[in-house]
Each structure stands twice: as C-alpha cells, then as structure tokens.
C-alpha cells in the first residue's frame, strides 16, 4: 500500500518522474554520442576524454575529489553568508538614506565592474594564503547582488499599505519588520540566488590564483599535468556544487515565501 502510494506520487502528472525524464533522456543521448564519437574518430584523451574516463577519474580517487569539493563548498558558503549579510545591511541603509545611496552607490557599481580575477590577487595579499582569503574574495563577489536587490525590495512597498500603517500609528521598527522587510523577501531571494552562483565562481577563481586545496587547486594541478579526465571530473564537480547550493536556497525560498506570486499554483 505504501509503496504503491509512493509510486503513485512519483508518477503523477508534473510529479518527479514526469518532470525528470526529458533531461535524463537528453543526458543519455549526449553521453552515448560522446562516447561513440571518441571511439569512432579515435580522439586523443588530452583533447576530449571519454565519459568513461571521466567517470573512472572520479571513482578511482573519490576521497580526494570530494574532500577538495568540500573545501570549496565551505569557502563558498562562508563567503556567501558574510557577503550576503554585509549586502543586506548596506542595502537597508541605502533604502533608508537617499543621500547615502546617491553618494555611495555609483562607486559600489563601479567596484562591481572590476573582474574578480583582477581583484583576487589583491585580496589574497591582504588576507593571506589560507582559506580566509578565498572566503574574502567570495564575500566580495556575493555582496553587490543582495545589496542592490535589498534596496530595491525595501523601496518597493505599496504607498497605500504605508498609509494603513500610518493610520495604525505604527512605529518605524514595526514598519520595517512587518511591512518593508516581508515585502522585500522576493527581491532578497533574487539577490541570494545570484550570490549562490557568484560565490562558487569566487571561491574557485581565488583558488586559481593561489591555493593548496579546493576544486580550483585540483583544476590547476590537473591542467599543469594534463590530467584531462581529472580536470573534467573537477569541472563537473564544481557545477554539481553550484546546483546543490542553488537548490538549497530555492528550497528555503519556497518554504519562506508561500504567499509569493510565483507560488500561486500551490496555495
């Protein structure tokens, strides 16, 4: 009975199976074509490793790859948290002070256009060779999106709702916590989701510049020794990391913003 109800739920229209089979089929087609092409045209492994080789590179040494991925994930998450917190605070200050926003925002936007590869060496010199410098680079990258979205979100309140709070003699704190902040939640998650992607990029780029562990380090070492299957395995691992992190934030958003417009189908 329980098994059949589980099967029923998995196979329901728009259920997991219904959603998942098209990408799974495409994945199988790509992998088959890839493997077939390498055998048919005898492509050397340093040009393009076969999916089987990449799989073997992963299975032969899973501990090392997973451990390095863990290092990168830790840097990404720590940088994400610090950068997001700073971004949220600054975005809030900007939302409340037009003068500060007008004066400081142009420089923030200008700083945002600096390529991360250009700023990473400087930050690493400031913060040293350990993980803290990777976290700092990540925090630098995942700071702007939330700052800007936080500001936009806090400013997007409905004027009539503001009047309702005025009539009810609400305090400034009440306006912030019961009106402006909840109203900004959809914007906050737009910023957080951007930060997820940026934080993984930030951690790996910082490891490129200087590191003795992490996926960026694995990629650079594999690159120097032309260990192509391992290079590919590390690249795919970093993609998985980003996807996993993104799904966690998306899941938090769903439980946080049940009322939000994008959730209208499941009241």
């Amino acid at each position: 009975m329980e098994v059949s109800s589980l099967v029923y739920r998995l196979t329901a229209p728009n259920g997991p199976v219904d959603q998942a089979w098209p990408p799974v089929v495409v994945f199988l087609i790509i992998v088959t074509a890839w493997e077939g092409a390498i055998r048919a045209f005898d492509i050397p492994v340093y040009v393009l490793p076969a999916p089987g080789d990449i799989y073997l590179a992963f299975v032969n040494n899973p501990g090392s790859l997973l451990w390095n991925a863990g290092v990168t994930l830790f840097e990404a998450v720590a940088g994400f948290v610090i950068g997001s917190l700073l971004g949220a605070v600054l975005g809030t200050i900007f939302a409340y002070s037009k003068i500060l926003a007008r004066g400081v925002l142009p420089y923030i936007i200008a700083a945002n256009t600096i390529p991360v590869v250009a700023i990473a060496p400087i930050i690493i010199i400031w913060f040293g060779h350990g993980m803290s410098s990777k976290i700092a680079v990540t925090a630098f990258l995942s700071f702007f999106p939330l700052a800007l979205n936080m500001m936009k979100g806090l400013q997007s309140y409905d004027r009539t709702i503001m009047d309702v709070f005025h009539i009810s003699a609400a305090t400034g704190w009440q306006r912030f916590f019961k009106m402006r902040l909840p109203g900004a939640i959809p914007y906050v998650f737009v910023g957080l989701k951007l930060n997820v992607t940026f934080s993984v990029i930030g951690a790996i780029v910082a490891e490129f510049v200087q590191a003795d562990k992490g996926l960026g380090f694995v990629i650079m070492t594999a690159y120097r020794t032309l260990a192509m299957p391992r290079l590919w395995a590390a690249m795919l691992m970093s993609a998985l990391l980003g996807i996993l992190f993104f799904l966690i934030v998306a899941w938090i958003e769903r439980s946080f913003a049940r009322w939000h417009v994008s959730e209208q189908d499941n009241p």
């Binding site: 409905d158 009539t160 709702i161 009047d163 309702v164 709070f165 005025h166 009539i167 009810s168 003699a169 609400a170 009440q174 019961k178 009106m179 909840p182 109203g183 939640i185 913003a257 049940r258 009322w259 939000h260 417009v261 209208q264 009241p267």
Partner: protein
Amino acid sequence: MTGSRAESAMDNRSQPSNPGARQAEDSLVSITDLSLVYTAHGMTPVHALDKINLDVTQGGFVSLIGPSGCGKSTLLRILGDLLSPTEGGIRIGESSPRQSRLNRQIGFVFQEAALLEWRRIGENVALPLELRGVSRAQREKKADELISLVGLDGFKEKWPRQLSGGMRQRAAIARALSTSPRILLLDEPFGALDQITRDRLNMELARIHEVTGVTVVLVTHSIREAVLLSDRIVVMTPRPGRISCIMDVDLPRPRSLETRNDQQFEHLVRLGSKELERGYGSV
C-alpha cells in the same frame, strides 16, 4: 457663491454662543474654515480646499461627493491625519486628528484593499491590534468577531490572493474596524468593483453602520450610492475645493436596495445630480 460661503462660515462661528444650535451638542467632527494650499516650487499655488466648514454628527453617515479635484479625498485624508491643513481648525471629539489617530480612534478604508499578501486574512484583519501590542488571544477573538461581521466566515485562514476584489475590500473594512474606532473614513472603497458586488457591499456598509453605531464619512463618485447610504451629502466643487451645498437625506432606516424604489430616493438623486453638474460645468 461667495455669499453662501460667507453665510455658512458665519453659521459655524456663531454656533458655540448660539443656544439654538442643537447640532453642536452631538457633533463628533467639527471643521472650521479649513484650507489646504499646495505650493510647489515655481508653480502657482493650488487651493485644494478653501475655507471648509462642516460638522458630522455622532453616529452619522456623511458622504462627500464631487468631481475629481474638488478636494473630497483631501478632506478625508486630513480627517485621518494623512495630510495637514494649511489653515483652520478640525476636531474629532475633543482631539485633533493626530491625537485621534495615535489613540487608534480612526479607521480608514482605501480604494485598494491594501492587504499584506504574506499574511492570512485573519492576521490582516488583526494587524492594527498587533501593531498596538494586543495579546494574540485577544486578537484572535476580535478577528473572529470582525470576520463574521463583514461576512467573511470561513476565510480567516485564506491568503489575500485567494479572495475576490469584493472580499478583499470586506477584509479591509474589518481591519479598519479592529480597533473599534469612533470614526470610519472610506475613500471610494467600492470604486473598482462591479455593480452587483458594489450594491452588496453598500448594504453591508449600511448594516455595519447600524450594528456598530460608528460615525462614517464616505467619499464617493456616485450620487446614487451617496443617497442610498447617507444622512447628509456634502456636494463639493473644484478649483478651489469648496462645499457647494449640503443635502439632508431623510429616507427611513434601515435602508435596503428597495430604498432605491422610493419616490423620495429618485427625487434626491435628481436634486444631487443637478448640484453635481454645476461643479462639472466649470471643469
């Protein structure tokens, strides 16, 4: 025009010392020589309201009507302390609008329901109580009462987006009544609704007025709505915003949609429309 304004102004000024002025005894709102002038940088000043004199009886139902720009919403917003007048006096009971607002004695309903989408209907209705620091148990109790008063039974746990426009407006009315205000101010609350829903909500409003005894000031574009609901109708004209006449509506209460079949109803609608058109004539 100028003559009639002078007369009404004199009426009001002489009221305190005039033993014949019975209105002053039971009036909740008294407005004397109230003006609001907007002065924007480099523009000629706009007289949104010019020397308004008006009393609203305790428990009364007054409608403000007139073409756009006549200052009816402005006057309502001054009553709710959402705007400050440039000149003149305004009292609600013994207090200024500001004191009344801080004492939570004002309920305000806007054209949009302005519900918080992230709160269920019950939590929206009880919002003013929550902002005031009332305990959860008491809020729940009051929310239940109000939800059934406005006819939203069974919708307490729904999200605002699950409600129709008319139901959202019912919730907004319940929210405005949550602090048991002395005066309920409504700014074209049913303007965005279809005719049938509007009729129904008009009747709900008449019933709520009768049940709670709250004093009501309603801003509307519809003379039929004004006649159907009010004791007094204040017709206003624009540029500058002035009161052109005040009509007493002596239709029996309780009112119902059948009231519209009354001879007197049609007569008052014709009279009011004529008065209204004069305001539109100068547009």
